[in-house]
């Protein structure tokens, strides 16, 4: 491949993969069964130059390849703002970039939650997934093996069908190393939605690049909670794999999660810490609310149903609040078939697909104070789109949106009696 027998496009992709292999000290490459590509989000000319070079050299993907969000909601292109020349440039470049990735043979999934689609990888399968939340979900919840690939590498792995045998592709690197005992949080807290973004942010902050092992999560904790946890931990830290004992496939016991070795560190997580984590993630905590954004990573169908359930009855959303839900186009289509979408939209929620409200200009410039149920959104939006942010559960988001001001329920953090 390197020598150009498969074409110059494959040779370029292979130079990148081999370059990465050298950096990571890989003894060899490993064949992958799928790829998830994040390089389709426009970050400037370089994004387009790279994709155009590959297209121009005749490259195409060798394995099934899904695409992460782009810069444009292709189903509702008017949603992305185009007032400034920079916004118009991103819109035009973003659209061209999305086309280039389709020309390379990728599937038009346009979601940061490819694990919500059919055909996801099985336990032990080697894949090359990018996008930090998708990586941590594939490794932790599915037990598939992917290292933490950056942009450019993802598409090069898809084109060559190979990735360096290094990092989390290897057994040893998957050992849990830092233990978080969540039992002091109690059952009621651990049954709440907010527990998982908060835990994820906290665990990521303390674990850094280590593999956290969570002890005491309920055995029936859902994939949406694990999604929120992983996304938050990959934003506040470099977490690309966590184990939850009795929940995730490589952690039937604490000992197995630790590969029979002693942990480097152990922490206990308490309710006051979780309360402080919410405050740390929020840049305001009361008063006027301009917008709500939920669905980062993309809302699952179950999350759309939950939102529809909350919106179905009760007062309307306040006139001064714009309410956004980000999801994948496949989930949107399912919600449309079932009627869930109509409930959400008729309540005044703007449903965004193919992109996300914090990677491109969707929110109105008047939206200064925003509430979200996502620790990842709360972490990045102040820097990305210059808004003040407050973290709340989906229920708190809906209640606050109806009132036009922030309404938080801190009873969640009260110690359980008995």
């Amino acid at each position: 491949m390197l020598a150009g027998a498969y074409g110059e496009g494959v040779a370029l992709a292979m130079r990148v993969i081999v370059g990465l292999g050298r950096i990571s000290g890989a003894p060899r490459l490993v064949e992958i069964t799928s790829a998830h590509v994040d390089s389709c989000l426009y970050h400037g000319r370089v994004s387009l130059d790279f994709a155009d070079r590959l297209v121009g050299l005749g490259a195409s993907v060798r394995v099934p390849t899904t695409l992460n969000v782009g810069s444009v909601d292709l189903l509702h292109p008017g949603l992305v703002r185009s007032e400034t020349s920079q916004q118009r440039q991103t819109l035009a470049g973003g659209r061209r970039l999305m086309s280039a990735y389709l020309e390379l043979g990728c599937t038009a999934t346009w979601t940061c939650a490819p694990y919500q689609l059919p055909g996801r990888p099985a336990l032990g399968e080697h894949v090359a997934w990018a996008e930090s939340n998708a990586v941590v979900f594939a490794n932790s919840v599915l037990g598939a093996r992917t290292d933490r690939y950056g942009d450019f590498v993802d598409i090069c792995a898809a084109i060559t069908g190979r990735a360096p045998y290094a990092g989390l592709q290897t057994e040893d690197a998957r050992r849990g190393t830092v233990v978080f005992d969540c039992r002091p949080l109690g059952h009621a807290f651990l049954a709440s939605e907010l527990a998982y973004p908060l835990l994820g942010h906290h665990v990521g902050s303390l674990a850094g690049a280590e593999n956290p092992v969570l002890v005491g999560l309920p055995g029936d904790v859902g994939e949406d909670s694990l999604k929120a946890l992983g996304a938050a931990a990959a934003s506040s830290g470099e977490v690309a794999l966590f184990h939850a004992v009795g929940v995730t496939p490589e952690a039937p016991t604490l000992e197995r999660a630790l590969h029979g070795l002693a942990p480097l560190r152990a922490h206990e997580v308490t309710l006051p810490t979780m309360r402080a984590t919410r405050a740390e993630l929020s840049t305001f905590g009361s008063g006027r609310l301009d917008a709500v954004s939920i669905g980062t990573p993309h809302a699952s169908y179950a999350e759309c149903e939950t939102l529809a359930g909350l919106l179905r009855d009760g007062p309307p959303i306040h006139d001064g609040v714009a309410f956004y839900l980000s999801t994948g186009r496949a989930t949107r289509a399912r919600a449309e078939r079932s009627g869930v979408l109509q409930v959400i939209e008729s309540a005044g929620v703007t449903v965004v697909v193919d992109t996300c409200t914090y990677v491109t200009s969707i929110l109105s410039p008047a939206a200064r104070r925003v509430m979200t149920n996502s620790a990842k959104w709360a972490h990045y939006a102040p820097g990305n789109i210059d808004v003040a942010v407050v973290l709340g559960s989906t229920r708190e988001c809906v209640e606050s949106a109806r009132l036009g001001r922030v309404a938080l329920d801190d009873a969640l953090f009260a110690e359980e009696l008995g």
């Binding site: 990571s24 400037g44 370089v46």
Partner: protein
């Protein structure tokens, strides 16, 4: 002073050093002029363009390779990055910028404890084998 370095991406660069006391995500953490905009980062507001950035590692989103590569293309990138451990996301940006534009920003690893000895605020030169000040 001179400490040995291992190049993840080659080249030579020099600039006034800045030490980051926490890992940085270029995506979401820096703007198009190379300024730190991550409100949670201790050095928020610092401009990295043209500096020799000394940090243990990158952090967070895998989009950072593109953001850094674009900063290299527009000359808003650090003059060099000195890591304490290999970080492929940071290094890939430099590898791709070289493929596409022929521009070099050295990304090197200096093992601890030498990494901690590199001072902040002095003129530092980085090449594929060493960091000098």
């Amino acid at each position: 002073m001179r400490v040995a370095a291992r190049a993840l991406a080659g080249g030579a660069g020099e600039g006034v050093s800045i030490r980051l006391s926490a890992p940085l995500s270029f995506w979401g953490g820096t703007d198009s002029r190379g300024r730190i905009v991550d409100a949670h980062h201790p050095q928020c507001g610092a401009v990295l363009a043209g500096r020799v950035v000394v940090m243990e590692s990158g952090r967070g989103s895998s989009s950072s390779s593109s953001v850094l590569a674009e900063q290299i293309r527009t000359k808003a990138a650090p003059a060099a990055i000195v890591l304490a451990r290999p970080d492929a996301i940071v290094a890939l940006a430099a590898i791709v910028a070289r493929e596409l534009y022929g521009l070099d920003v050295p990304i090197v690893v200096v093992a601890t404890p030498h990494h901690e000895q590199i001072p902040a605020g002095v003129l530092v030169r980085v090449d594929s084998t060493a960091v000098m000040w």
